[in-house]
Amino acid sequence: MSDITIALIGLLVLFFLMILRMPISFSMFIVGFAGLLTVASPKAAFSVLTGDLWNQFSSYTMSVIPLYILMGEIIFRTGVTESLFKAAYKWVGHLRGGMAATVVLASAGFAAICGSNSATAAAMGTMALPELKKYKYDEKLSTGSVAAGGTLGIIIPPSTVLLVIALQTEQSVKQLFVASVIPGILLTLLFLLTIFFLCMKYPEMGPAGPVSTFKEKMVSIKGVFPTLLLFIFVIGGLYKGWFTPTESGAFGAFGAMVISLAMGKLNFSKLSASLFGTLKSSTMVLTLVISAMVFSRFLTITRLPYEVADWTAALHVPSLIILLAILGIYILGGALMDALGFLIISIPIFYPTVMALGYDPVWFAVLLCIVTSAGAITPPVGVTVFVVKGLAPETPVMSIFKGAGYFLVAYAVLIALLIVFPGTITFM
């Protein structure tokens, strides 16, 4: 049996285990391990598994995820976010879907300081989901908004994905970051349009609240100050160079503790609940990321991703078709495996092909980033969807995929726009 056949069987088994309700991270661990065992040897499989587990468990870069979740947990459990969302409700609650729109806007703001989609989804989800529930928002819409909003984390700079692409294609990190600002804003607007369109069609998804008086609006702002202060501190500290993006998670959590302590809202039981809540969601997210990595190692060793890439690069058809085929493969890759792992494997193969077709390097990099980040909300492996699931255990995971699915339309529109009007990115 060839290694490629084994890879395809592995994908099939993975799919079966997942739909038979084996936790997704466990499925990827087990199939990845069994695959390595088959293709290489038991010794090799154990070597990869133990090495990856230790190295990823003790990775400084990954530790930022629990820190962002902790920040969100503390400000949520101490009720600080409640006043923030109350204020937002007074201002936009009378609009259908206004609160979901608020979540998307807040995600965009958060994405401007955070380079990771799972961290953005984690931070926003912890704060927003319980509030949206209170305002009787449809769970598909609210979880979908958070999951899709989370993907803004890697489109709006800073972005870990753009960083990897820049390093691999020898482009300027700064230039890529600048180039993705406009697409990031466009996508945010398209997300807002998606929400308003949905709520126009199905008013019960994001019910309109009562109209507030001007006075009520002004009074509500008072409660916003603590959170605003924290936001200014975290964003300002980043731009001032007080701390690095990785450190901002810790400062966010620390600041949240200080603020809620000063307001007399933090006590021991709330702190321990925040810690346990953080533990639960971050363990879930990080095991997913690591299991995706082990599974990617299996696919890599069979060389399936390389074969697919070679095959596409060798197609004799018009350049736009090749480009679309490549983007299609990235969508598929993003659906099936760890997005970063897939980028690292495929960029050396696809990038020269796309350059040979005469496309702009910056434009392609940004497009790639957008396509890959859409993978975070496509089934079966959707990182931000899983993060949201961790924060909303009572919502079925397929409902979240469905809710996030509405936003894939926005993605499709954006990608089409960027292909038809490449100047949106390259004018810079």
Binding site: L36, V39, A40, S41, K43, A44, F46, S47, V48, G51, D52, W54, N55, Y60, T61, P158, T160, L163, L167, Q168, E170, Q171, S172, V173, K174, L238, Y239, K240, G241, F243, T244, P245, T246, S296, R297, T300, I301, R303, G341, I344, I345, P348
Partner: protein
Amino acid sequence: GGRSESGKAESDKPIKLTYAFFAPANTFPAKQMEKWKEEVEKRTNGKVQVELFPGGTLLTDKNMYDGVRDGVADIGLSCPTYEPGRFGLIGISDLPSGFPNSKVSSQVFYDLVREFPPDALKDYKIIAAFATEPAHLMTKKPVKSLDDLKGMQIRISGALTPVLRDLGATPVGMGMAEVPEALQTGIIDGLVSSREVLKDLKLAESLKYTTDYPLTVTSFIAVMNKDVWESLPPDVQKVIDELGPEMARWTGEYHDNHVQEALKWSAREYGLQVVTLSEEEKAKWDAKLKPLQDKLVKDLKAKGLPAEEYRNRLYELKDKYSRK
């Protein structure tokens, strides 16, 4: 990897070798892999086929050598010093020794590894060894003296910590990915590394000065799983053995050219300036750094390793290859 197909390979079926590395395909050690693949496949008339896995997709810097031992890949390329404590003597040649470039450091290192094979690699076949050019200070403000350097926050990686500390700078540890932003926001004032990063990571945008004083080198060793090596036919083994010293020279030259290109590009695009130390100042730096190597030699000698011999040979070889 290590899929033992190589063992029972028939004469008409190509022998497949998998070769892993932790850094991306566009870095110079990965170019070395490509060259090695090309040469091996050519010189064995296609009898051997090499599959490359750069970018840490199979094994990373943390588990490369263990992974080759366990048969995840047949060949693995890594930096021994990324796993400190495991490769005693190599630390000596990594510390500042005044190498002029990578061509010299690579050839010296290859010979040293042949003459003093690391105990930790005795169960492997060493197929390549080379080193970077010496790391240099790259800073936002010119560093002409130890006084200029005093208190500057400089990004370093592992082995450089004591070097920078002894020169009076404040070493900062952070991932390379965070460097561009940390430079922009002023969290760090510069970094120490081989100088191709000026162009490859576009760091010349903020780093306008580099001080012409050679610091540590980073050495690389590629090893093959011993069982796989023993399963190879003698003619293939011969080709691989012949390639060892050739690759050290080739890689050194390739890396040096790449660095020179990066320096020219940075000077042209961003006005990079090379700061030269006065003889008197240079002597001061030497005096600060020499004790580091002395101390390491003493410590390793106490552990029963031939550290003295290693260092003497290091300087002999350095002179030999510098003269050429």
